[in-house]
C-alpha cells in the first residue's frame, strides 16, 4: 500500500524557531502506551464486525474465521470488549 501521497515537505527553507511543525511521520505507535490488551476468544467470535466498526484506531484485523487485533496500533482503550455482543473479547493486563 502506498502510504504517502505527496513527497515529504522540505522544511529546510523555513526557520526552525518560528511555528513548531513536524514533517516526519512519528515512529511511535499507540501500542507502546497500552496497559490492558484485548484478547479475542476464537470460539466465541462470530465475525459480526461490531469491534471492527467501533475501534477508534482501526486496529481490528480480519482473519478467515474471526477478527483479531493488531497490537502495534491498539492503544488498549477497551471499546471493542465493551461493545462485543458475544463477550468474545477480554481485556488482559499487559505484562510489565
Amino acid at each position: 500500500m502506498k502510504r504517502q501521497s505527496y513527497p515529504i515537505f522540505d522544511a529546510s527553507g523555513v526557520p526552525d524557531d518560528l511555528c513548531p511543525i513536524e514533517n516526519r511521520p512519528n515512529p511511535m505507535l499507540p501500542g507502546e502506551w497500552r496497559s490492558m490488551k484485548p484478547v479475542v476468544d476464537r470460539a466465541k467470535c462470530v465475525k459480526c464486525a461490531v469491534c471492527w466498526l467501533y475501534c477508534p484506531v482501526q486496529c481490528v484485523v480480519e482473519r478467515r474465521a474471526w477478527f483479531d487485533i493488531d497490537y502495534a496500533t491498539c492503544k488498549g482503550c477497551g471499546i471493542c470488549a465493551t461493545e462485543c455482543p458475544h463477550r468474545a473479547i477480554a481485556m488482559v493486563e499487559e505484562a510489565a
Binding site: 505527496y6 515537505f9 523555513v14 526557520p15 524557531d17 518560528l18 511555528c19 513548531p20 512519528n26
Partner: protein
C-alpha cells in the same frame, strides 16, 4: 456623511487644497435601481476613485481599512463597544466592497479558531473584539503568536468586569499585554484606519510573523465621528503586496505537516526545542520595532500622512517635565500642555503608540532631558498598585540608570472623562515633584469627580 450613491455618480464638492474633493458613499446605503453587473462594476470603480474621504467613527474607519487591505476572511462576534464595527464589516461584504468570507461564529473562541485555520490555509484575516469577548477568546488568543500567524485584530478597548461596565478603558488590552501579540494604541480615527493597514505590513513581514492588536478607545474613538482621508486602493495594494501567510506552517495537502506538535518536557530535545521557539518569538517581537518604524515611514511616503511609529514627542525639546500618555487621552493631554506652556511651564508630552514590544530605547531617549515624569494610565496594574504603562516607563528608566522622580496617575476608567483640567492637575503635581524631588503614591484622577 454625504450620500452620493453609485446610481447618481460622484458629486463634486468645493475645492480643498487645490484638489477636487468628492463625497463618499455611505456603507449601508440602499441602491434603489440596481444596474446590471457589468455597469455596476464600472460604477463601483468610478465610485472608488471618487471616494477620497469619509466622515465616520473609528469603528467604520476600521472596517474600511479591512476592505482596503483586501482581507480574505473575517470572523466576528459582536460586543459593546465593538458591535457597530462588525455591522460595518457585514455591510461592506453585503455590498461587495469587501470581497471576503464572513463567518458569524457562535462566540469569540470560535472566531479566532476559525481565523487560525484560515490563516494556516493562507488567508489574510481580521477580527475585532474587547472586554468579555477578549476574555472568552483567550485560549486561541494565547496560541496565535506562538503559531507565528500574522493577522490584525482590533481591540475596541473597554474596562473589564467587575464592577459591571460597558464603557471605555484600557483594562482589557492591558490584561493581555504579556501574551506576545504586538499592540499599538491609536489617538485619532485617522490613525486607526492608517494603523490597521500598517499593521498588516508589520504582521506579515518575514522578520516578524506575529499577530497585531490595533487598539482604539471604546466610546471616544469607536463612536467619535470625524473626517477621515482614505488612501487610494492602488497605493494600499503597492504598500501591502500579496499576502503570503502560511509559508512556514500550513494546512495544505501538497505540503503535508503536523502543526504545533507536542514540544518541551524534561527529556530528550524537549527543553532546548521549547527554548528555541520562545527565543524566536522574542526575536520576532524585537525585530518588530524596526519594521514598525520602516512601515510608518513608507506609509508617510506613499500617502503623505505621518504618524509616530513607536513614541511621539510633543513639545519635549526644551521640557523640564514630561507626561506620558497612551491612546485617545493624548488629545486632551496636548491641549493641557499648550495651556501650561502659555503659563510658562516647560512641559512636554510623550505618547506611547507601540506598547508591545515596549520601545525601551525610544522612551528613554524621549525622557532623557526631563527632571520628573508623570505617567497617565487608563487601566490598573493590581500587582503594583499603579498603572501598567507607569510600570513599563519606570522599568525603562531604571534599565537606563536614569534617576528621576516619577508618579503614576490613573484616570478615564470605565468611560470617565480625562479632561484638560485633569491633565492640568497632573502637570501641577509633576512640576511640584521636579521642584521637591519627592514622588508620591498613585493618584486616581477621577476620584473626586
Amino acid at each position: 456623511m454625504s450620500a452620493a450613491g453609485p446610481s447618481q455618480g460622484a458629486r463634486p464638492l468645493p475645492l480643498e487644497g487645490g484638489r477636487e474633493v468628492r463625497a463618499a458613499a455611505s456603507v449601508g446605503e440602499v441602491v434603489a435601481d440596481r444596474p446590471e453587473p457589468a455597469t455596476m462594476l464600472t460604477m463601483l470603480k468610478q465610485e472608488a476613485k471618487a471616494r477620497d474621504f469619509l466622515v465616520c467613527d473609528a469603528n467604520e474607519a476600521a472596517a474600511w481599512a479591512v476592505a482596503l487591505a483586501r482581507v480574505d476572511m473575517v470572523a466576528v462576534y459582536p460586543i459593546t463597544p465593538q458591535s457597530s464595527l462588525v455591522e460595518y464589516l457585514a455591510k461592506l461584504v453585503a455590498t461587495g466592497k469587501l470581497d471576503a468570507e464572513i463567518v458569524d461564529a457562535e462566540g469569540e473562541h470560535s472566531v479566532l479558531s476559525v481565523l487560525q485555520g484560515a490563516a494556516l490555509a493562507g488567508a489574510r484575516t481580521y477580527t475585532a473584539t474587547c472586554g468579555p469577548g477578549l476574555a472568552f477568546m483567550f485560549e486561541p488568543y494565547l496560541r496565535q503568536p506562538g503559531l507565528r500567524l500574522p493577522m490584525v485584530m482590533s481591540i475596541v478597548t473597554r474596562d473589564t468586569l467587575t464592577p459591571q461596565s460597558v464603557w471605555g478603558g484600557h483594562q482589557d488590552a492591558m490584561s493581555v499585554r504579556e501574551v506576545g501579540w504586538i499592540q499599538m494604541y491609536c489617538e485619532t480615527v485617522q490613525e486607526v484606519l492608517d494603523t490597521i493597514l500598517i499593521a498588516y505590513r508589520v504582521a506579515e513581514h518575514r522578520d516578524v510573523m506575529l499577530p497585531v492588536n490595533v487598539c482604539h478607545d471604546g466610546n471616544y474613538l469607536s463612536f467619535g465621528v470625524t473626517r477621515v482621508d482614505l488612501p487610494a486602493q492602488d497605493d494600499v495594494d503597492a504598500f501591502l503586496g500579496k499576502p503570503n501567510i502560511n509559508w512556514h506552517a500550513a494546512l495544505d495537502p501538497a505540503r503535508p505537516m503536523a502543526v504545533d506538535p507536542l514540544t518541551g518536557g524534561a527529556g530528550g530535545p524537549g527543553p532546548r526545542t521549547f527554548v528555541k521557539y520562545r527565543k524566536g518569538h522574542c526575536a520576532g517581537m524585537q525585530n518588530a520595532l524596526s519594521v514598525i518604524t520602516e512601515a510608518h515611514a513608507d506609509w508617510a511616503r506613499r500617502t503623505g500622512r505621518s504618524h509616530a511609529p513607536l513614541v511621539e514627542r510633543y513639545r519635549t525639546d526644551d521640557a523640564d517635565i514630561a507626561l506620558v500618555t497612551i491612546g485617545s487621552m493624548t488629545g486632551a493631554g496636548k491641549d493641557a500642555v499648550d495651556e501650561a506652556r502659555d503659563r510658562g511651564v516647560r512641559v512636554g508630552l510623550v505618547k506611547v503608540k507601540t506598547y508591545r514590544p515596549f520601545p525601551v530605547q525610544a522612551v528613554v531617549e524621549a525622557l532623557a532631558g526631563v527632571k520628573a515624569v508623570g505617567v497617565v494610565d487608563r487601566s490598573v496594574s493590581f500587582g503594583w498598585n499603579c498603572g501598567p504603562l507607569y510600570q513599563d516607563v519606570a522599568g525603562a528608566l531604571g534599565h537606563a540608570g536614569m534617576q528621576m522622580p516619577s508618579m503614576s496617575f490613573i484616570g478615564g476608567l470605565a468611560g470617565a472623562d480625562l479632561t484638560t483640567r485633569h491633565f492640568g492637575a497632573v502637570i501641577e503635581r509633576v512640576a511640584h515633584m521636579a521642584a521637591s524631588g519627592q514622588s508620591g503614591a498613585t493618584v486616581w484622577l477621577n476620584e473626586n469627580d
